[in-house]
């Protein structure tokens, strides 16, 4: 793995497995003796609340918080939540969005607005970022069951973002095996499918 400074800001909703993705990257860096600081924030809600994680790779003894305009990569597991992360995006950085809507009750009832993906694209452009969108409906199945979306996302991230300059696909696959020795087969399948996934701008 490469030891350049690389800061990742991850957002999503509690219950989506936001922290699992961060966990895999942290574990991989740690296994290769690369300095890493992983700072998750779960807020007050157990499920359905805003979750974020900040990952700083390559900096020895670094402070945990990424400054505004400082993240090389934003990973968003939910369309609307992307908007909370964009101020942290470095101009020229990448915003990777999983096209998943997790609607709050008021949105479901039609009494509150929900941003369109086009608005997210527009805001990403304003922040000077490059947008990648992974469709949520394209989730592959393994032995008749849909795979875990966060591992699938991990594959797409490794193929389409600058993360490929930090970690190799083999390193991430090894971490997945180590994290879930029992479910390795399913998860490695999800990862491999993610690597093949179509990601659009």
């Amino acid at each position: 793995m490469n030891t350049n400074f690389f800061d990742i800001y991850i957002v999503g909703v509690g219950g989506q497995g936001v922290l699992t993705i961060a966990d895999i990257f942290t574990h991989t860096a740690f296994e290769h003796d690369v300095p890493v600081n992983y700072f998750p924030t779960k807020g007050m809600a157990q499920r359905g609340g805003f979750v974020k994680a900040q990952l700083r790779i390559g900096r020895e003894g670094t402070g945990p918080d990424i400054p505004e305009g400082g993240a090389d990569l934003i990973i968003s597991m939910e369309i609307s939540e992307t908007l909370k992360a964009l101020k942290y995006l470095k101009p020229g950085g990448e915003a990777f969005v999983y096209e998943n809507r997790w609607e709050p009750t008021d949105v479901m009832l039609g009494t509150a607005p929900y941003p369109a993906l086009a608005a997210v694209a527009e805001e990403t452009a304003k922040a000077g970022g490059v947008l990648h969108v992974l469709r949520a409906s394209s989730l592959p199945e393994y032995q008749g069951k849909p795979v875990r979306d966060n591992i699938y996302i991990l594959g797409a991230l490794m193929r389409h973002t600058a993360l490929k300059k930090i970690f190799t696909e083999e390193e991430i696959a090894k971490s997945i095996r180590e994290k879930w020795p029992k479910g390795a087969e399913t998860n490695l399948y999800a990862f491999a499918e993610g690597l093949k996934a179509n990601v659009r701008a």
Partner: protein, 621 residues
């Protein structure tokens, strides 16, 4: 042997204590400090006593007892907990201790968990106690281990203070091997001049000893060389940082370098403690520099000391900090604050490229109000409170319902909008009593969770009972200290308590207090819960509704299942009343029809009780 692990700051504190041979570890759960005790409770370390105590004051007293007998003891809490523990803490600080006594407290600048943004360094200043402030996971381990030695050297308790970003960060940590504590304590001398506060002479002598012990800590810290001073260009710029802010310095220097600022020319002082003040090193900075940036989160403790020392030394130095409004007293810091301070120190404009460019994208984000989980028993209680108030023909804004700390406070949010106040652990009932005394003509209701009841709620209820206050106290007992991540408390199922521990029954406690109007209900049953609250409101004196049902998350983990609930699409009229009234995240709309998300739903059945069309059906068991 030293081992290298990927752990959190809170875990590193636990490992640091184990490496110091800690005998007793106590605490009360509180974000962001919880994982220290939580981790140790899972370890197989029979030589060390570990417990979640009933509250922070009790936790501290237990730890202090061990330290008076020469053992090493650690006590953990969040910043709000220190307010609770302080009464005993200052007493022990006066007496001093024999074994190392370390109080770990975690602050939350930027408020990620929802409480007062207080700076507990103020407590260190107020009680003449050293407070070590680790910046990284490794420092959490190293400084905790060291804190025990320092405590024994000065004969007084020592604080270790972290902030959310340090406590919750995960990183590589070199862990020193555990030291097994002695099995038996050293005999305690009976010395009332040391261990009581009987009389003015005793107290004044103890105070003098305490002041001297802080001075000794200052010398010891100076000698042990944790603070790093690096002198730059004479007459130039210096920067003083403390705790987590230290860790942003390399990043800030990296950012300012391209603009002609030379990091090597800047004097730096990186401190691992504010209190005691590192006076010699601070004075060296003052003598050496013409401008000093003082960067610390929250209150300007260090900065004010720098100003005082400048005055003492008769040297005029330009200070960049909070007094000149460069930095804020609120929020957490990262590299940007240091960058801003450095440009101000060099009297340079902050370059365009380094200015924050927030386009305000966040304002287009869908609001995501915090609420209770699918299947949460508290949902039933809030709905029943609202219904009872309506059934008794009061308007919603006529009946004050006070809230307390923990998951139970989530009733403040939509769709319930039940609770009016949140103050501190146990404050709900006394506050309601105050509303009654103030002359409110409508009923007053207080709500409180089980752990909060044991912590500090019980005293307020006793007070209301004694004084014959007509109020309804609703105890929402879900068996767990849930908000902080499911810790055991005195009311938790005996099967989840450690060996030799006991389970206390809130029902028996309340009965024994002389409450005759006590209604024990299941909040999954809206009708009986509502009726109980209605009856309760109409009683004289204190009445208690004990709403009991295990936390849905814990019930699921313990394989407790409820009958499956589903929507009969033929009967569903899409009126959406179920969604509107319960706000349950398991209820979703698919093509305008209500459906139940089977992965979220636990089968609590509350939604089926609000459907007038009987469209939400519970499978027969």
């Amino acid at each position: 042997m030293i081992s290298r692990k990927l752990i959190s700051g809170n875990e590193a504190i636990a490992y640091g204590a184990l490496a110091a041979g800690v005998k007793v570890v106590t605490g009360y759960p509180g974000t962001p400090s919880t994982e220290t005790v939580a981790m140790l409770l899972k370890e197989d370390i029979p030589e060390t006593k570990v417990e979640w105590s009933v509250n922070e004051k009790v936790a501290f007293e237990v730890a202090a007892g061990a330290a008076l007998l020469g053992q090493r003891a650690l006590c953990t809490m969040k910043m709000s907990g220190l307010n609770v523990a302080y009464d005993s803490l200052i007493g022990i600080a006066y007496s001093g201790c024999k074994g190392g006594l370390v109080i770990y407290v975690a602050d939350d600048p930027g408020v990620s968990a929802g409480m007062c943004e207080q700076d507990t360094r103020g407590f260190a200043a107020m009680s003449d106690m050293p407070m070590l402030e680790p910046a990284t996971v490794q420092e959490c381990h190293d400084l905790t281990k060291y804190a025990f030695t320092l405590s024994e050297t000065i004969g007084s308790p020592v604080f270790v203070r972290s902030v959310t970003s340090v406590a919750q960060s995960h990183g590589a940590c070199e862990i020193a091997p555990r030291v097994i504590p002695p099995e038996t304590a050293v005999p305690m001398e009976r010395d009332i001049t040391k261990y009581t506060k009987a009389g003015s002479v005793i107290c004044i002598n103890q105070h003098k000893r305490l002041i001297a012990s802080l001075a000794q800590a200052q010398n010891q810290l100076e000698a042990d060389g944790f603070d790093k001073l690096s002198l730059g260009k004479e007459g130039g710029v210096g920067i003083l940082t403390v705790g987590v802010v230290n860790s942003y310095l390399p990043e800030a220097f990296h950012a300012v370098q391209p603009y002609g600022i030379v990091p090597e020319e800047i004097t730096t002082l990186k401190l691992v403690h504010t209190i005691p003040f590192a006076e010699e090193k601070i004075k060296a900075c003052i003598r050496h520099c013409s401008v000093l940036v003082v960067a610390e989160e929250l209150e300007p403790h260090l900065e004010n000391k720098v100003i005082q020392l400048c005055y003492q030394l008769g040297k005029s130095v330009k200070i960049i900090g909070k007094n000149d409004h460069t930095f804020s007293r609120s929020g957490y810091y990262e590299a940007s604050q240091l960058i801003k301070g450095l440009f101000a120190a060099f009297a340079m404009e902050l370059p365009e490229a380094l200015q924050k460019k927030n386009n305000g994208a966040e304002k287009h984000c869908a609001a995501r109000p915090i609420s209770v989980c699918a299947g949460c028993p508290h949902r039933g209680t809030y709905m029943a409170i609202n219904q009872a108030i309506a059934n008794l023909h009061y308007k919603k804004d006529e009946v004050i319902v006070t809230g307390d700390i923990g998951c139970t406070i989530l009733g403040m949010s939509a769709p319930f909008n039940t609770l009016w106040t949140e103050v501190a652990m146990g404050a709900s009932t006394p506050l309601a009593q105050g509303f009654y005394y103030a002359g409110v003509q409508t009923p007053v209701i207080s709500t409180i969770g089980d752990s909060t009841f044991f912590h500090a709620g019980i005293t307020g209820i006793i007070n209301a009972i004694q004084h014959g206050i007509p109020l309804t106290a609703i105890i929402m007992d879900n068996e767990w200290t849930a908000m902080t991540g499911m810790q055991v408390n005195p009311g938790t199922d005996i099967r989840c308590q450690k060996e030799g521990w006991k389970q206390l029954d809130i029902e028996k406690i309340v009965e024994s207090l002389g409450v005759t109007a006590l209604y024990v209900v299941d909040p999954y049953d809206l009708r009986t819960t509502t009726e109980a609250i209605e009856k309760s409101i109409q009683q004289d004196g204190v009445s208690v509704v004990l709403a009991r049902r295990q936390c849905a998350i814990q019930a699921a983990r313990r394989k407790i299942t409820y009958p499956k609930v589903s929507v009969n699409s033929e009967k569903c009229t899409s009126c959406k009343v179920c969604i509107r009234k319960t706000g349950c995240p398991a209820l979703e709309l698919a093509n305008g029809k209500v459906v139940i998300n089977a992965t979220q739903c636990n089968g609590c059945g509350i939604c089926s009780q609000v459907c007038k069309f009987g469209a939400i059906e519970t499978a027969s068991v």
